[in-house]
């Protein structure tokens, strides 16, 4: 393991990781790959909103959030790839659906704006807790990526909470749609806190997702109630994203995302 070249936390990017001589240990790479996939899949979904948002300010805001997440994905995938001599693009564009490890919440289609806000609220609170814990990781690269991400994700939480309130307390129609959005996304909450099969032997390095559940449960239901909405009660879906089990939404998404890169294998862009 060689961390001598790792960069300072505020400046860490996919490029700086690729340019350094850092090599992720195999187990750490396996863990980082799942985290990178989560961020990549959600970033891609947010990219679908650009030019389609309800107002220009939201084209900008959702674009910003998507760009932040894409930055996290690029750093995590680049770091994971150092273990196998693969680039972020090898991992993003040349793995098939069963090899993707993203949890199922992130691949859910954006639906209407309320569904997107519901997905984003759940995701942002989860990411905020995850990165806060991961910034204390004994793996310096993971810690640096997380420390940078946590500041950005705090803003994402604010953005979602403001919209949750506007839609929940706005008009009858927006209230109904916000509730429907929450109901649609809620079955995918449970999976976020299931044990990560790639985190088990990484004491002090990885974050055990079960540890994050308490913080989520003490915050999100209260936010939902404060916005005049009802905390959904539907059962958790089975999950399995980390072991390559996905909902029907991921396949078409990857087909689109990967189509050009796969038409020109070996090309650089």
């Amino acid at each position: 393991m060689n961390h001598s070249n790792h960069v300072v936390s505020t400046a860490i990017t996919a490029e700086s990781i690729a340019d350094s001589s850092v090599v992720a240990p195999e187990a750490v790479a396996q863990y980082a790959l799942g985290l990178g996939d989560d961020a990549l899949v959600l970033a891609h979904r947010l990219g679908e909103w650009i030019a389609n948002a309800p107002e220009l300010e939201e084209d900008v805001a959702l674009g910003n959030i998507g760009l932040d997440l894409l930055g996290h994905a690029r750093s995590l995938l680049t770091y994971a790839g150092t273990a196998w001599g693969q680039s972020e693009d090898d991992l993003a564009y040349f793995r098939g659906e069963p090899e993707f490890r993203s949890r199922q919440l992130f691949e859910q289609p954006g639906g209407d704006f309320a569904a997107t806000i519901a997905r984003q609220l759940i995701a942002s609170v989860y990411f905020a807790e995850l990165y806060r814990a991961l910034s204390l990781s004994t793996d310096p690269t993971l810690a640096a990526i997380a420390a940078k991400a946590v500041k950005e994700v705090d803003y994402h939480v604010d953005h979602s909470v403001q919209w949750l309130r506007r839609l929940g307390l706005g008009t009858d129609l927006s209230h109904e749609r916000m509730q429907r959005g929450l109901d649609l996304m809620w079955p995918f909450v449970g999976e976020l806190f299931q044990p990560d099969p790639f985190a088990t032997d990484l004491d002090g390095i990885a974050v055990d997702p079960e540890r994050l559940r308490l913080a989520f449960d003490s915050l999100v239901p209260r936010l939902i109630v404060d916005a005049g909405l009802t905390v959904p009660t539907m059962a958790a879906a089975q999950g399995g994203g980390r072991i390559g089990r996905h909902s029907e939404a991921l396949g078409p998404m990857l087909a689109e995302m990967q189509v050009l890169a796969r038409a020109h294998p070996g090309a650089t862009w």
């Binding site: 650009i50 030019a51 220009l56 674009g63 894409l70 690029r74 704006f113 706005g170 050009l260 862009w269």
Partner: protein, 332 residues
Amino acid sequence: MAAPAKTTVDDASSEGTADQRREFDRLIEADMRVEPRDWMPEAYRKTLIRQISQHAHSEIIGMQPEGNWITRAPSLKRKAILMAKVQDEAGHGLYLYSAAQTLGIDRETMFEQLITGAAKYSSIFNYTTPTWADMGSIGWLVDGAAICNQVPLCRASYGPYGRAMTRICKEESFHQRQGFEILLELMRGTDAQKAMAQESVNRWYAPALMMFGPPDEDSPNSQRSMAWKIKRFSNDDLRQRFVDMLVPQAEVLGITLPDPDLKWNEERGHYDFGPLNWDEFYEVLSGRGQANAVRVARRKQAHENGAWVREASRVYADREAAERETTQRMAS
């Protein structure tokens, strides 16, 4: 929003008083900025509203041909750059709508004019983007032409417009460089990539040259805009400047510009270039481009799909404001 061209004198006609007219002429003459509080001739105000809102619409419609490739960008780096670029264009639209609002028109009205087809936008965005190389061509040629057009606008006589343009131009020059890089990467790549780049430049080159508008002799409005210092160079001057800038860059790329008449003219100190097909330009302008209907329909759909969100936002903000007021009244 109230019209800011306040007329405080008895003569409330749009012609203004002799003093007002003299003061306006003095500002223009002295190359000073006209600000929203200043009196301005009605025709000047209308010209600016038309130009700034058209420009804003172009930024917004321009998000579509590039937005087309965000989900298929071939590398994560390019995906990030493209997302940031399209997002910048939304920001440009926002600055420009704000500048137009200072002239007494609201955003909703301008949006309405766009989606009903009453207002124009740059017809370059009615061309389609069938290949990834089009992301390079748009950046290099379309943003490139936009910069040539827009750098002089940073000194436009109307203050809010000039200031918006200063911010915008900084970002547009990034866009042009990124477009150039996309093409450079393709031209250094496989045969298929090179062919993709050349084919795309073949499609975008002439339309980009036409972005400067019709030849000077066919462009009556631009004379007046130049006198008012809204516009500083003629269409043909700007077009020449653009061609002179492109040729050496095309050489670096190893791309052929699709014009057999393109050659250096020692005497003029400029490149000569062949005639442009203005019939096609007017075809596209009058609605028979590849994507005119689709672009406007798509904007309309996004606007309509978002109506319930904007309404909720408004109701929520009003209620919050009312509650704040009640709390304050009870406290005092």
